[in-house]
């Protein structure tokens, strides 16, 4: 009995000691400058505390100096380093200490991570400043280990080229060169072929219809303000509509939902009438403000349409629920209607109710299309080339990914990963080990699934065979 009690006490003592003892410090603490940034990141890595830890606390100190020569990497609080070489940053920032005076005593940790972590990305550093880091393991009872300090200071630097996005740079340069090339081609007088956009071609026809019928043209520039790009694109089309109306001597009305849009529309229409040689025909009262209220505006425009029965209605800008109300009213009064918007949810309504609809990109291309300006046309063609490149990469990516899944070929996996993670992602020019490991992991996972499926199939077959045998007996 005495012996049993002695053993029990020894065990209790051991557990208490173990519970109260400080954890071992982490080892191999290394701080490195994170590449491809503007010098605001430092990557800190370490090996976990022997015996485990509940968490780690990170300390940082701006220093002047280069490294802790001859000093132990495991210093207790209050110990100092000696043998410092030439300082990297002799001046140092405010609050920086000379490296030989380095001490983390009384410092608050800059971050704390859980015990499972072995790295930390410090994103609060300044480029050009040298830092020393220390990591301290913390036990579940808040016992702390001695500090593990980095061997040498790290100085984050500004990287002028983000190598992880070199592909982005290449693609951007290619598109820029293509834009410049097409601009030069257009300027040289060679025709730049732009697909015929029926909606823009129909402007003359719609205004002509209004002229023959002796009725007005109605232009609705959407319900958003002038800061919306769709409203700006709409005003570009308005310029052309107004010029045509001036040429045909047709009346043009522009009800607006925003005062700034009204002002911009007035200037646009006035400019168009002037360039058409008909400044006398411009009447600023035809471009007016109704209300900011969405459905108040809609009701106002709708009433105008029902009363005046314009022969041509243009809806160019940003629209919401009022799109179908306006387009259906226009259809009912027998007007030729041309709509243009980049609101995907409203496009089906416009397509169904209007004669012509400019869809998204077509709407934004209107300026180049209508002006025929070589610079704008060249830019348009260049952007198209960019879209072609993007579409091509997507198609190729899908193709190689599918083939990789089907064939489990490592080469195809690498091509697929290269397209999605290097060309379209941020992995730089070459495949790295991590990517290769991922590919291998995917292949292993697939093999494991196949093996499991195979064994399941065999098991199922053996059960079936056994069941068949039992039935036979």
């Amino acid at each position: 009995m005495t012996r049993f009690l002695a053993v029990l006490m020894a065990m209790f003592f051991a557990v208490t000691v173990a519970y109260a003892a400080a954890p071992a410090p982490p080892t191999d603490v290394v701080a490195t400058d994170e590449p491809n940034d503007v010098g605001n990141q430092v990557q800190l890595t370490w090996k976990g505390s022997a015996g485990g830890a509940a968490g780690y606390m990170i300390f940082r100190k701006a220093v002047v100096g280069d490294q802790l020569s001859g000093a132990s990497q495991l210093e207790s609080v209050g110990e100092t380093a000696t043998g410092v070489t030439e300082p990297v940053n002799p001046e140092g920032p405010d609050g920086a200490v000379r490296i030989e005076d380095l001490s983390f005593a009384d410092d608050e940790p800059i971050a704390a991570v859980s015990g499972g972590e072995t790295s930390y990305l410090d994103e609060t550093v300044e480029a050009g400043t040298s830092y020393m880091y220390a990591v301290q393991a913390v036990s579940a009872t808040n016992e702390v280990s001695p500090l593990a300090i980095t061997e040498k200071p790290v100085t984050p630097t500004w990287d002028w080229i983000n190598e992880s996005k070199l592909w982005f740079l290449f693609i951007m340069l290619t598109i820029s060169l293509v834009v410049i090339l097409f601009v030069m081609i257009a300027k040289s007088g060679r025709p730049v072929k732009v697909r015929k956009i029926a909606g823009l071609e129909a402007v003359n026809e719609a205004v002509g219809r209004a002229t023959e019928m002796g009725r007005s043209c109605l232009f609705v520039p959407g319900i958003l303000d002038i800061n919306d790009i769709q409203t700006v694109a709409g005003l570009t089309v308005l310029s052309n509509v107004a010029k045509t109306a001036a040429k045909y001597d047709a009346k043009l009305e522009v009800p607006t939902a925003r005062s700034l849009v009204m002002t911009a529309a007035r200037e646009t229409v006035q400019g168009s009438f002037l360039s058409a040689g008909r400044p006398d025909a411009y009447n600023e009262d035809d471009i007016y403000y109704l209300t900011d209220e969405q459905f108040g505006y809609t009701a106002g425009v709708q009433g105008k349409m029902v009363r005046d029965k314009p022969a041509a209605c243009f809806y160019m800008g940003a629209f919401y629920a009022e799109s179908l109300i306006l387009a259906e009213t226009g259809n009912a009064i027998g007007a030729i209607q041309v709509a243009g918007t980049a609101m995907p949810s409203q496009l089906p309504f416009f397509v169904a109710a209007c004669d012509y609809t400019l869809i998204g990109e077509e709407f934004f291309a209107a300026s180049a299309y209508l002006s025929g300006d070589p610079e704008q046309l060249g830019s348009l063609k260049g952007q198209d080339m960019g879209k072609v490149i993007a579409a091509l990469l997507i198609v190729l990516g899908c193709l190689f990914s599918t083939l990789f899944v089907l064939t489990q070929s490592e080469k195809l996996g690498e091509i697929s990963a290269y397209i999605s993670e290097n060309i379209l992602g941020e992995e730089g020019l070459e495949l790295n080990d991590s990517q290769r490991e991922n590919i291998q992991a995917q292949m292993d996972q697939t093999k494991a699934v196949e093996a499991r499926n195979k064994s399941m199939a065999e098991l199922r077959q053996s059960i079936l065979d056994r069941a068949a045998g039992a039935d036979g007996t």
Binding site: E201, E212, K247, A352
Partner: protein, 608 residues
């Protein structure tokens, strides 16, 4: 003019066409249960001084026919004998006229592409030459428009504009341009300028007020565009014909007398050609394109889905306008059809000689090839102009569904569709009088690029104008003669739409007929000919290569009956649109191969 006869009793028909230089007469008789053209005669037109009487030329040409037919047509008073007996006279006499430059008009509309085009279509359909179109959006300032109206000397003016209940302001504005300009007519100083108003009916009173003074003869007819969705060209065309007879013809020497002889109103020649093509298209249910290439102008007529269109390309012709053809088409484009090198200086001399001596004909094979190269380009350009003009109506509201999201077709698309074309008819000196029919056929194929299965024909003696007038009196006789005597069928062309790869299969064919049973394949870039005599038919089954359309869709098999002709069955694997190599040497070799393929210039067969 005699009273109308029962068509059943019409057995002898005499028709004349008074051209600028020649008056052509034909005799149509009821023989063995059908109408046939039996004799023809020609005489110089006598509208100019010293004769100054168009009927003299008519009498001369008819007398020639009488001698050939051993039948007396002219009585002792110099008039045409009617009705017919066993040995003399005719049951009806009809005539067309293009003497003195034909009918020349100016038209006006509010919007050029809408009522302006409708007015132009009405005038062209009536057989007129449209000198200019005045519209509120024609990019000319009012003083420029007035100056232009002053400079023109049209036979009449057609003003249109505004739908019924539409704009009146623009219409009055146009009238107020015309009235002070005081355009002078071509003939007769005491002659009041006829103005036809065919616009918004609500503007009639105001228009009448504008033209009340100033020596205008204002005639009002129904709006030719009562709504934008529909054209109503008939009343305007009829009014043009009436004024043509009452005013224009009455001013020309001898026409007042000629009008009393005819049993149907005298029609402008192109209008009559349009009428016969429409009649044939309607009765046979086919789509037709006709072309008449002259010295100064080229007329193109088309009937697609019963819609008739006519264009006059005023500066495309083979003599007076040949320089313009070369300028507009450019010399490299002309020379691409010639299989050998030609000295450009010599060619220029040739062109200018042809321009100042319009009646000369090529004396060498090289000169003939060059002239036919120019003809190809003139026809091609005229057809392009025709396609641009023959369109659906503009300004029409479209009904859409969500399915139209990515295929929003615009209005104003051409209605000319070569794949739907059934019959292509050629007339005019360079086509009708080519030494070999094969040349006529190739000129048509190269210039018009028919697709699918298309029958080719030429007007043997330019009989279409006569038959056009006849179609108004006796449609049955007109179509019978058109089919049997007017047209010389050259054969049938089978051509694929799409671009075949050179040397690769364009389509495989099997032809089965009484005299022709063959099968084989046509390779990309090749053209060949199979013998199928006039009057013979065969059935052709074609399997086109992928992407090649012969009428049933790309790559889909067709089976069709084909008719023979003097040339035969032409199988064209060159693709559409027709593309010639840019390299001169390669182009020459290619053309040489094509010429050989259809035996265009076989020496032994050259007619003299």
């Amino acid at each position: 003019m005699t009273t109308a006869l029962d068509p059943e009793k019409i057995k002898v028909i005499l028709a004349t066409d008074c051209g600028s230089t020649t008056t052509k007469a034909i005799l149509i008789q009821y023989v063995d249960g059908e109408y046939r053209q039996t004799h023809r005669g020609e005489a110089p037109t006598t509208v100019e001084k010293p004769f100054a009487d168009v009927t003299m030329g008519v009498v001369n040409s008819v007398t020639e026919i009488g001698e050939l037919a051993n039948r007396r047509f002219i009585d002792d008073d110099g008039k045409i004998i009617s009705p017919a007996t066993e040995t003399e006279g005719c049951d009806i006499y009809i005539s067309t006229s293009s003497a003195g430059g034909g009918l020349q008009m100016m038209v006006a509309g509010v919007v050029r592409e809408m009522t302006g085009d409708s007015a132009k279509r009405a005038a062209l359909g009536a057989g007129a030459i449209v000198m200019d179109v005045i519209a509120s959006n024609d990019d000319r300032r009012p003083h420029e428009q007035i100056q232009r109206i002053r400079d023109l000397r049209p036979d009449m003016i057609l003003i249109s504009g505004g739908i019924d209940g539409g704009t009146t302001t623009h219409v009055i504005q146009i009238c107020e341009l015309v009235a002070p300009a005081k355009p002078q007519p071509r003939f007769g100083s005491d002659y009041e300028m006829p103005i036809i108003y065919a616009g918004n009916k609500e503007a009639r009173d105001s228009v009448t007020d504008v033209f009340r003074e100033g020596g205008f003869d204002l005639q009002i007819c129904e709006n030719l565009r009562p709504v934008l969705e529909m054209e109503n060209l008939g009343p305007a065309r009829d009014k043009i014909h009436d004024i043509f007879l009452e005013h224009v013809m009455a001013q020309a020497p001898g026409y007042d007398k000629l009008m009393t002889w005819t049993d149907a109103p005298i029609m402008p020649t192109p209008g009559a050609v349009g009428d016969i093509l429409q009649t044939v298209a309607r009765i046979q249910g086919i789509n037709v394109v006709g072309v008449d290439i002259g010295g100064a102008t080229t007329d193109v007529f088309s009937v697609f889905d019963e819609t008739f269109n006519r264009t006059v390309s005023a500066n495309l012709g083979m003599s007076y306008s040949i320089s313009n053809v070369c300028a507009e088409a450019t010399m490299p484009n002309v020379l691409r059809w010639v299989p050998f090198d030609m000295d450009e200086r010599q060619l220029r001399n040739h062109v200018k000689n042809k321009m100042i001596r319009p009646t000369t004909i090529p004396q060498t094979k090289e000169a003939l090839m060059f002239e036919q190269a120019v003809a190809r380009e003139a026809l091609r350009l005229a057809y392009i102009q025709h396609k641009e003009f023959a369109t659906t109506l503009k300004g029409v509201q479209k009904q859409r569904t969500v399915g139209d999201t990515f295929s929003q077709e615009s209005t104003g698309d051409t209605i000319v569709n070569n794949m739907k074309l059934d019959l292509l008819v050629a007339s005019g000196g360079v086509l009708s009088h080519a030494p070999r029919m094969h040349q006529t056929a190739m000129l048509l194929i190269d210039a018009f690029e028919p697709e699918g299965v298309t029958r080719l024909a030429k007007d043997s003696i330019f009989m279409m104008p006569h038959l056009g007038v006849l179609s108004a009196v006796h449609p049955q006789a007109a179509t019978q003669v058109f089919d049997r005597d007017c047209l010389i069928y050259l054969g049938t062309c089978v051509a694929g739409k799409g671009l075949p790869k050179p040397g690769k299969t364009c389509f495989k064919y099997t032809v089965k007929g009484d005299t022709l049973n063959e099968s084989g394949e046509i390779r990309g870039g090749d053209i060949t000919m199979l013998p199928l005599e006039p009057g013979q038919t065969a059935t052709i089954e074609c399997d086109p290569a992928r992407g090649i359309d012969l009428g049933a869709g790309p790559g889909k098999r067709i089976t069709k009956d084909v008719q023979g002709g003097t040339v035969g069955l032409i199988l064209d694997g060159r693709g559409r649109p027709l593309a010639l190599p840019e390299d001169r040497a390669t182009c020459q070799a290619t053309i040489g191969k094509w010429i050989e393929g259809v035996q265009m210039y076989e020496e032994e067969a050259v007619a003299v």
